[in-house]
């Protein structure tokens, strides 16, 4: 159908408005660029992508553990191995996320309109701590028992213990395998889009500002 749409009809379309907004704010060349400013040449720049790579393995190993249920990894060698993959990918995830955070701090990466990118990244770090915390509580072993018995006092003191009950395995497990991974994934997507929209920040004191 080659019928032309009247300009006023297209202007009133919500769908067309979103398309125009996306095309203007994040064209595909900027979302997936094949060139970067020449100052992007340090190992610091790979900490972020390694964090995302580790998160991929955290989620995939977690999906396998969730599929077979919380008892599986205690009783089978295959389950223990996937738990080990989950455990070490979480350790790598945090190591490289912290390195990424420090790197971006010393690059003052919030300059030139990039403060929201920093803020989402910091929120992601805090949500990740909560996700890991619920994971430790959902282990169903001595460690999770002791963490729950102790952590309850801090949460109760803050008035949240009656709502976020660390002694309730069902609540912690549900948060760990569903709500918090979804929240982190959404935040990662938003963070990446923010980075691609503004581009990498220019060196401190450089003439002009960042490339997109």
């Amino acid at each position: 159908m080659s019928e032309k749409i009247a300009p006023d009809v297209e202007a009133a379309s919500w769908t067309a408005a979103i398309r125009r907004r996306l095309a203007a704010g994040l064209p595909i060349e900027r979302l997936l660029p094949d060139r970067q400013p020449v100052y992007v040449g340090s190992w610091v720049y790979v900490f972020g992508v390694i964090t995302i790579a580790a998160l991929v393995w955290v989620i995939l190993s977690g999906v396998v553990l969730a599929f077979f249920g919380p008892q599986w990894w205690h009783t089978t060698s295959a389950g223990r191995f996937f738990n080990s993959l989950h455990f070490w990918s979480v350790q790598l995830f945090f190591i490289f996320m912290v390195l990424h955070l420090w790197g971006q701090f010393f690059m003052a990466s919030w300059r030139n309109g990039r403060a929201p990118t920093w803020m989402i990244g910091a929120v992601m770090f805090l949500v990740s701590i909560l996700a890991a915390f619920t994971g430790y509580l959902a282990q169903q072993n001595l460690d999770s028992q002791w963490i729950a018995a102790n952590a309850k006092d801090a949460l109760n003191a803050s008035g949240t213990g009656g709502f976020f009950n660390v002694l309730n395995f069902g609540q912690m497990y549900g948060l760990h395998v569903m709500l918090l991974p979804v929240a982190i994934t959404v935040l990662v997507v938003v963070h990446i889009v923010q980075v691609r929209m503004r581009g990498v920040v220019a060196p401190i004191g450089a003439q002009g500002e960042a490339s997109k």
Binding site: L32, D34, R35, Q36, P37, V38, Y39, S42, V46, V49, I50, I52, A53, A54, W57, N83, S84, H86, F87, W88, Q91, F94, G103, F106, M107, A115, W118, M119, A122, F125, L126, I129, F133, Q139, Q140, L142, D143, S144, Q145, W146, A149, D153, N156, A157, S158, G159, G161, L167, N168, G170, Q171, Y173, P203, I204, A206, G208, E209, A210, S211, K212
Partner: protein, 309 residues
């Protein structure tokens, strides 16, 4: 490397393959994770049950249960969110979110951990039924006298073939009650009873964990695994594995004044970390903090080629 000036913003650019970088990162991290998992496995010290507690340290279990009846345990007088007590309620002046939130998870430690399980067991035990009847029918002062005397006797109690033996004294029905409680605990029935909340499916371990937390067996196992608060336990893991090392700052406050030993330490630490977390999010807007990267020139190392040019 072919560089060129970007027409849009005048920045010199060079080829950079983001997708290839991600693919290499995925392969590299997977290889590392596989090696670590295969070589080092992961920690899994089995959970403690009330049954194992009763079998390994029956005196501690009976002492804890007696304390629940006397109202002297942590759970018995805890306060919100479990009951109307006040011994574990924290506040800073008028600021007490714990009190404001109220008791939302009702726990009566004497009834829930001791008397109700015994009542359930008494249907097939006439001696226990008589002991419970005597206990429930006694005046408060009489019950307190029995509990006080029995509590003191338990300090010198001995274990004999799974039974708790105390010196002779006037303890009323308590020896019969506690022998029965120990018996059902050793059989594993108390684990199931405390977990049960009436329905078939159960996932809430509030009661059994509170009961075990009142005793010293769980904390002695945690101490062996360097998990206690004064051992930086919050960021530790059982065995020699790395734990939640990202909680180092949270754990640090509990080791230093004015937090350590303070009755309101938890509330103080939570508030401190809330302020610091908010500060982390708002770094770009905090004068002084946002200027640190200019004062400490780590960026000259990161962008050394740029500055060299």
């Amino acid at each position: 490397m072919s560089t060129r000036i970007d027409r849009a913003n005048g920045v010199r650019t060079a080829p950079y393959d983001l997708v290839k970088e991600l693919a290499i990162a995925l392969a590299g991290t997977l290889a590392l994770i596989l090696i670590l998992a295969a070589a080092l496995s992961s920690p899994d010290v089995p959970s403690v049950t009330i049954q194992s507690w009763a079998q390994k340290q029956p005196v501690d279990l009976v002492t804890t249960a007696t304390g629940e009846l006397a109202g002297s345990t942590v759970s018995a007088g805890y306060g919100a969110p479990y009951n109307s007590g006040s011994t574990s309620v924290q506040s800073l002046g008028f600021f007490s979110p714990q009190s404001w939130a109220g008791a939302r998870l009702s726990v009566d430690s004497a009834q829930d951990f001791v008397l109700k399980p015994l009542q359930a067991a008494s249907t097939s035990n006439l001696d226990l039924a008589a002991a419970l009847s005597q206990y429930n029918g006694a005046a408060d002062s009489q019950r307190s006298a029995w509990l006080d005397a029995y509590g003191k006797a338990l300090k010198d109690a001995k274990e004999d073939n799974g039974q708790v033996v105390v010196a002779d004294g006037d303890y009323g029905p308590l020896p019969v009650m506690m022998a029965s409680l120990l018996q059902i605990a050793r059989a594993g029935a108390l684990d199931g009873y405390l977990l049960s909340s009436g329905g078939f499916y159960q996932t809430d371990y509030t009661r059994p964990l509170l009961f075990m937390g009142d005793g010293s067996y769980l904390s002695s196992l945690a101490q062996d695994q360097h998990l206690l608060g004064n051992q930086w336990g919050m960021m530790n893991e059982t065995g020699s594995y790395p734990g939640q090392t990202w909680l180092w700052l949270y754990t640090l406050w509990y080791q230093i004044p004015p937090y350590n030993g303070n009755a309101n330490a938890d509330l103080m630490v939570v508030l401190t970390m809330l302020v610091l977390s908010l500060a982390l999010v708002l770094v770009p807007f905090i004068p002084g903090i946002r200027d640190i990267p200019r004062w400490i020139p780590v960026h000259r190392l990161i962008w050394r080629r740029h500055y060299a040019d």
